[in-house]
Amino acid sequence: MMPAAQADPKKYAVELTGCTKQFPTPGGETYFAVRDINLKVEPGRFVSIVGPTGSGKSTILNMAAGLLSPSVGEVKSFGEAVSGVNRRASYMFQQDPLLPWKTVIDNVSLGLTMAGVSKAEAHSEARRWIEKVGLKNFADRYPHQLSGGMRKRTAVAQAWIVNPDILLMDEPFSALDVQTRQIMENELLQLWQESGKAVVFITHDLDEAIALSDEVVILGAGPGSTVVGSYEIDIPRPRDLLDIRDDPQFVALHREIWGRLKIEVSKTYETAMAEEGEVA
């Protein structure tokens, strides 16, 4: 880290220092989800966290969100310790987070109405966002009347309308088909590009991580995983996601990072096989 960064601790939108999360198991033992995590995300940066299954990616995100508090260590957001939910962050969940009993427009305006904004004002703002994510004609539909991609768009609008400084995304597009996913990734980048928001993006897909991010953080095999590598992605922006996989810079970075990730993935695989062997 540069000395200037240390001089101003408020500089980091998300700052995890020495964070460990452990749970008691039913057998009376202690299960370490993640161990000694250090993560710094500056405002306006897009950081992806990639790791094998069970490496505690979501645990890290939940600690940054304030939904989980670390057993050891400290979570800060813009220099302030996070206690309770992180007010400056929005969260995009892997699962469908829309309230099924609210229409698209009521779902999108939820964050505003709960903050005390009048319904008329919240709705007009929500309409702007609904139009932005391309659901103009679906404002009065209920979630079950929408396709998976449309529900995701609604969730994007719901998370962005409160204008958060940080966006926490937990494999938000993993449930979508490949084409829809690429379109959504492109739209996400366009939204984010000039927003100045910090993004922490969780994925198990290295391609997706490199294509979107400024920095890719690699987690080791779980349990008790920790950060094993961090890579700067200096592919110039704006990026064309549809062609980026042929970019020589992308290919080189992918080869380098995959070399590291591969080790952790095979460790996870071997552990899983060994456990299966024990059971059998």
Binding site: A65, V85, N86, S90, Y91, F93, W101, L110, G111, H144
Partner: protein, 282 residues
């Protein structure tokens, strides 16, 4: 959306040829034809009953003629005899339902949100719920007298537990992601309740509503039957006292119709409040 739905149907139908045929055959019967068939069935059963009583196959004392029963029903209705009784029964049932449902909802929400209380009270609630409620009727008669309040108390014990357990389960089974998402969007505890927990529990509460409305009426009638000075249950007990089986059946019939009408209204309300739910049939 309909496109996706029909496509899915088509696919599953194609996978199961027999299913297709059965579905088509079932679809062939129009609602009107079904109604006619139901009327024919009713007429056949009542006709067989009437005939077997008239030929002396079954004793008229125990199984009065359907035509006589309907005459008694008509007499009770046209003379206005049954309405004061019905009104009393309805009052008891409505009070038992309102108080029981309110208490069940309140306690259900509180216990679902405060884990300590749930664990503390769980064995006691289970114990009271295990008690066959009919045995409480005599003690309620002693406590609250022959008037409507002993029946309200009795109906309360029936309604309360159904609503309580359904609310508890409904609130506890709320999707974790919905709660986390609402909290991240800034929901206070009160807003969580209003936007997430109550609507989510509503489906459970409604599935219990049909049963609890029926139980409220059951409570009132059984209570009246055991000791009262008015009400449909009392009227039935009076008829039984003079071996008037026609009267007993007439009371049963009237109650049946009333409960059906109430159930229809509950259905309407349910369909309105749960309109966000995907249609079950398609």
């Amino acid at each position: 959306m309909t496109l996706v739905g029909s496509k899915k149907n088509g696919l599953s139908a194609a996978l199961d040829g027999r299913g297709t045929r059965r579905r088509r055959r079932r679809g062939d019967i129009s609602p009107l034809a079904m109604r006619t068939a139901q009327l024919i069935l009713t007429a056949a059963v009542l006709g067989a009953w009437e005939l077997s009583v008239r030929t002396g196959l079954v004793d008229e004392f125990f199984f009065p003629l359907p035509s006589d029963i309907f005459q008694t029903v008509w007499l009770w209705v046209s003379s206005g005899f049954v309405f004061p009784h019905l009104w009393i029964t309805m009052q008891e049932a409505i009070l038992a339902f309102l108080v029981g449902a309110a208490a069940g909802l309140l306690l259900g929400f509180v216990l679902a949100r405060v884990r300590f209380l749930e664990r503390l009270l769980d064995p006691f609630l289970q114990m009271f719920n295990a008690l066959p409620r009919v045995v409480l009727a005599p003690i309620f008669l002693l406590w609250f007298g022959l008037g409507i309040w002993s029946k309200v108390a009795f109906g309360f014990t029936l309604v309360f537990f159904i609503v309580f357990f359904n609310t508890l389960e409904g609130v506890k089974s709320v999707d974790r992601v919905l709660v986390d998402n609402a909290r991240m969007l800034g929901a206070s505890e009160k807003q969580l309740l209003r936007h997430v927990f109550i609507p989510s529990a509503l489906t459970w509460i409604f599935s219990s509503l049909h049963i609890s409305v029926g139980f409220a009426i059951t409570g009132a009638v059984v209570g009246e039957y055991l000791g009262a000075s008015a009400g449909v249950g009392y009227a039935i007990a009076q008829a039984q006292g003079v071996f008037d089986t026609k009267g007993v059946f007439a009371g049963m019939f009237i109650l049946m119709i009333v409960v059906l009408i109430i159930d229809l209204l509950v259905n309407r309300l349910e369909r309105h409040l749960l309109r966000w739910r995907p249609a079950q049939s398609s």
